[in-house]
Point group: C2
Chain length 350, copies 2
């Protein structure tokens, strides 16, 4: 699907399914509202899917990888080659996202959106490489507008393929040394907040590294002048290939009426671009967790999303999203499997 | 085991296992500390079990039921007969705890600790009934000291039996119309805080009901004068049979070095009594969630516990604990299944 068609396809939530879900929640054998966020999540997913009860057991996490020219500014605690090394770790099942995805019964789809150098062809590695890493955003645009569009379209096509194969709930994940810097730049560009509020320590830079990151984001915005009304322009000028791929996953999820569980800082930057391109996409998003990365709360506030939990995580890869998918699935099972007061012969409120 | 022996058996956490777990966390392929609470939980469970990596996949939720004489003061939004009706719902698998326990792969053990009337013998219902409901705490002690001791011992014996059968992680759950009132009284008695700060709306009483609950707790404390230095006295005077059973589960879990995941308001009241009886038991506890019930935060603060999540739940039954058990299990799998930097050939911090 072309991007404009994808965006046009996204519709509001199904109000009727949400009303049915709310009514059923009120008849289940528990005080109304006593399951809190689980009830709200189940109602949102009913609205997303148009199903009552909603079916979300087929779960897929997209872990999209890309490298970043801005690493030459000394913005990361790890060297660029770690991106490719971690992709291999994902493929062998040894990374945190593999462990957590297995735990919750989710499939992991690993995608090379723009890793530096050439990853040898690997079984289970999807190559959707746009280029071997972005340009340095301090010196100019990360990528061309055409490359940004292509990244979104490739991400959307991959999500579409998984949905056609049965995926019922999607989650976003990322790998890319240096990618908290473009993510902070996206947050600053779209929210209008000062870079110093959007930049955090990423994988763990020291005070000097943090100063370099803030300076890099300030410079990237000055040099590139991204247009905050144009999500594609922001992605092209200060984004990343894996971020573009995740924008595509989010838009396809929304277009196909699947809940999209958003991981932490980088995924939320992608969500901001997706929502700037297609405001209705916001209703299809579930924020998984509040990252420890400074700036994440500001991004969630801009999106109007309240995360499912706060486990002080800041790893990325989709790790927070994987755990949250299990909570969303539990919430939907409540609708499907709990007995009502009538069915169970339980007395109602006095 | 006699209560005094149970208490003497509880030992400090295994520092060596905790150090091994911390060291392994630091070598796994992620920035150190980036899994936040998951890392801390895995280290705590290593210390609890003395195992590295800790094994917690065999999970059991104890749902203990009891009735409360204080319901005659109009402190609950539901009639007393709902306790027995919900026990039958648990046995048929239609309640929220059944759905969530199935979701996370936990066994549910349903125990009649003191339900009013006689529940017909049911397959899978464990009868450990002390009496058909407590006495009204506004007028005198809920139970005798002997009954309080018996409730703890029966709860401990049930936990011990499950542990001998293979249980590796325990969770606490409750059912008892009216039981937020004794729980608030326990919180007030042990913490010394005013009843008005400890009492919440329970299953959903209105403003008048809330005033009646506060008055009932104030009166119960005045009439009974529970000794805050004597956990057994507090349980006997203002507690409940299901609360006593849960105290036993917690003490047995700690004695046998199993993590005990504590549910919401009622379970946390039981945890306070357990910790007053055996201060070392605190280290074996994992607070699952922050209940919406007013007073819960005050109880968690008294215990020095930070909950795993806040999903605005207030149902009881062990529902929050069931979800949290899955997070604890995930945390332990990280230790067992993730690759180290060396194993994966990933470069370390610059």
């Amino acid at each position: 699907m072309a991007l404009s068609e994808l965006i046009r396809t996204i519709q509001p939530l199904d109000e009727r399914a949400m009303e049915q879900a709310q009514n059923r929640q009120n008849r289940l054998t528990k005080p109304p509202g006593s399951l809190g966020r689980l009830e709200a999540l189940s109602i949102q997913v009913a609205g997303i899917t148009g199903q009552m009860p909603p079916q979300v057991s087929q779960k897929v996490v997209f872990v999209m990888a890309g490298d970043h020219g801005v690493t030459e500014e000394g913005v990361s605690a790890y060297p660029s080659e770690v991106t490719a090394q971690m992709v291999l770790n994902f493929l062998r099942g040894g990374a945190a996202i593999n462990v957590l995805a297995r735990h919750v019964g989710a499939k992991v789809v690993v995608v090379d959106m723009g890793v530096k150098g050439s990853l040898d062809a690997q079984p289970n590695l999807i190559s959707a490489k746009i280029a071997p890493g972005t340009q340095n955003i301090v010196k100019g645009a990360a990528m061309s507008r055409e490359q940004a569009l292509l990244a979104i379209q490739r991400g959307a096509a991959l999500a579409e393929a998984e949905i056609r194969a049965g995926a019922q709930m999607l989650a976003t994940g990322d790998m890319g040394i240096g990618n908290t810097t473009p993510s902070a730049a996206i947050a600053a560009a779209l929210s209008g907040k000062p870079p110093a509020l959007c930049v955090g320590r990423g994988t763990g830079v020291d005070e000097k590294g943090l100063e370099r990151k803030i300076a890099a984001v300030e410079r990237a915005l000055t040099v590139n002048q991204p247009n905050p009304d144009d999500g594609l322009d922001v992605l092209a000028k200060v984004g990343g290939f894996e971020i573009g791929g995740l924008v595509g996953v989010i838009l396809a999820g929304a277009a196909y009426r699947k809940p999209v569980v958003v991981d932490g800082f980088i995924s939320t930057a992608a969500a901001m671009i997706a929502v700037r391109l297609a405001p209705l996409a916001r209703h299809y998003l579930i924020a998984s967790h509040r990252s420890k990365e400074q700036g994440h709360t500001l991004m969630l506030d801009w999106l109007g999303l309240e995360p499912v939990f706060d486990l002080e995580m800041r790893l990325g890869e989709g790790t927070g999203a994987a755990l949250a998918m299990s909570v969303v699935e539990a919430a939907c099972k409540i609708l499907a499997e709990m007995a009502t007061f009538d069915e169970a012969g339980v007395s109602e409120k006095i």
